[in-house]
Amino acid sequence: MPAQETSHAAFPTLLLLLPFLSALVLLLGHRILKGAGVFLSLFSAATCFVVSVLMLGSTNPAETVHLLPFLEIGKFRFAIDALLDQQCRGMLFIVTSIGLLVHIFSLGYMKEDAGRVRFFGALSLFMFSMTGIVLAGNLIMMFIFWELVGVSSYLLIGHWYEKPSAAEASKKAFLTNRIGDFGFMIGILMLFSANHGNVSFAGEDGLRAALTGGTLQHIAQTQGNFMSIAVLCLFMGAVGKSAQFPLHVWLPDAMEGPTPVSALIHAATMVAAGVYMLVRVAFLIEAAPAAAQTIAWIGGITALMAALMATQQNDIKRVLAYSTLSQLGYMVMAVGLFAMQHAGAHQETVPGHPAMFHLYTHAFFKAMLFLGAGAVIYSCHHEQDMWKMGGLMKHMPVTFATFAIGTASLMGVPFVTSGFWSKEAILGVAFEVKGGSPLFWIGVATAMLTAFYMTRLFVVAFLGKPRSDSAHHAVEAPMVMLLPLLVLALLTLVSAVPGVTHLLEAMKPHHAEEHATVMVASIAALLIGAGGAFRLYRARDKDPVSITLFANKFYFDEIYAVLVRVLQDSLAWIIAGLDRLIVDGLFSRLPAFVARRAGAAARVLQGGHLQAYTFLLGLGVLLVIYVVVFVLPAPGH
């Protein structure tokens, strides 16, 4: 198609500029702009969606578009430039489509909120920064937008800042992310120094070129540890942003934000940014096998641990949050496993990447689940405890149907749902990789647990009898909220169909052979998990199982609190001591003491005694005469 061969150079500018302007106008003028402001945000989201659809399916090779020169110091040049390739276009589609749907859903959900213009402003800011991450052609630009995403996430989690828990959660999310970002920055700087200041992904002197025949190749061959550390530092950024163990603690708390935010940011897009970044630098991970293994294991541990925690949560959003954690762990595990599989290959073009594929399917069904949960919460007058719901099937049939599709997809119901295919792809890689079998069984166990807790949630919230007044009087959500649900349900069903994946550039991996073991294991896990939960929770009024360890999230928050208290307090004690000793003592008190002592000594001279003054004056004169006449050589000699 020749029409699509034309360059999309103008599109990235549009994609970044529109949400930016919208965010600027709304955030600065949200007190002046009353309700009308939200349509500006909606308009920008819709335009971005159209633009990203137009960009889909291009057969152009990867193309770098220079947007803005940013910094020039001597030879070092850093520019805001966009790298348009298949991965970028696919991710753009996910971000803008879900972004648009969440905007529409929020019209209904946030209808009565006083700060909704502010909310939409922050949403636009998020769209701006997320688009920036997706477009980023180099690591520094990605880092800038990475931080911006953190800011918008902070703003959105803390949207109801009057609530102490929301304010606390936003702070926690931001600070936890900062820890990861610190590592990310170190990783970027390491690559920056190794590759002489160029941290572009593509391009002549970019990281990929350097790895296939430049400075980085030499380093990777001679100093494997350097590459491993650099990659692990980059991974730390992903650990923070994608809430991997041990920095996962912020994501469940982030559910304090409005539910559409949870759907967009803390389920579908922002938390996936870490995975997206890892896939972007997959070629680096492949060059560092030790790092790849670590990444895979961290992902596996997160997946299993989060799934265990999810089985004992009662808040409908928290169950979904832990499930998100678990699925993100899956994706990260896939990144690691895939890198192990392709170690040293340095492919020029990334073929279908299982992590990207799972990211893609997961984004749709998880966003839908969250929006569905949002609809339920909205209808039950902001009731979030699933034990106070029940029997919603009759009251909210459309929500029920879409939620069922999402649940099925998350559990991986074979053949009809997209989640099944992407999960299969990951498990397939784990099965094939040498040394991946423990991770394979972790994956299967996680799949079983996923089926278990999703069935539990579904059975408790939608089936049975209403267990509270608000559940009893629940009515179907308004059309503006149902529409996004329906669209997402459709996408969930069709997104793994080969034709659609190709069209949406989902990077679906093309497996030559389906492994029977994988298939059987995952179907068995589904059956055991779902069946067990169905038998256990059907027609129950309260949780028959109580495992405090899981309910209390393995006591991570408590452990961290103690760690922070012990470490930080002792560190603060030491630093305070040093401060008192060195800064106060050496740099402030000592000079003051010396000056005071010198002053006191000099004071003696200023005794007010006229005769002492004249004596000193005379002494000075004598000294001068002595030096000039008897010490210095006579003039002229």
Partner: protein
């Protein structure tokens, strides 16, 4: 003979100078100072500086010493008899003065041109008359006298005219300052 006079007047100058420092009664000090200045004026005369010598007697021994005596009488300052010595100050002063004297003596004795005597530095008045432009000075020189008042005046008014004006201003300021300082402030009393 001239050298005898020099030693005599040098002795007068230094002896009365010592009296100024040692005397316990301020009036004795003041009168000794006057005598010391007279000796000094005589030394000036021996150096052929008649005008400066006369000025020294008129201004110092006359006006300034009268002023000192007047103030001593006005304030009715008693002699310091019976008062303890400030030993530290005395030792300091004596040591300082001694060291200074030694230094000056060392410098002077090693100063080569200082060994010329008065006979060697002879004045040649008729020759000087040839160089002088002012007739009155030239006439005096030819007559064999040294018109040093005229010569100082010539130097003052020809070379240092501006400086003379400044000195005049200084005296005016000094006069005004003395009046201001001497005025009793009514608020204080």
């Amino acid at each position: 003979m001239p050298s005898l006079l020099f030693y005599l007047f040098a002795l007068i100058t230094l002896g009365f100078g010592l009296m100024v420092v040692l005397a316990r009664n301020p009036v004795t000090s003041a009168l000794s100072l006057a005598m010391s200045f007279v000796g000094l004026a005589a030394l000036f005369l021996s150096l052929d500086a008649y005008f400066i010598g006369i000025i020294q007697i008129l201004v110092y021994a006359g006006a300034v010493m009268v002023l000192f005596l007047f103030i001593i009488m006005l304030l009715d300052i008693k002699s310091e008899e019976g008062k303890s010595f400030n030993l530290k100050a005395i030792v300091g002063g004596v040591v300082l003065a001694a060291v200074l004297a030694v230094q000056i003596a060392a410098v002077a004795s090693s100063y080569g041109p200082g060994r010329t005597n008065l006979a060697e530095a002879r004045l040649d008045l008729p020759a000087a008359a040839e160089y002088t432009k002012l007739p009155t000075i030239a006439n005096d020189l030819r007559a064999g006298t040294l018109p040093d008042a005229k010569l100082v005046g010539q130097s003052l008014f020809q070379r240092y005219g501006f400086h003379l004006q400044v000195i005049g201003l200084l005296l005016l300021v000094g006069t005004v300052g003395v009046v201001v300082l001497s005025k009793r402030e009514k608020e204080v009393n």
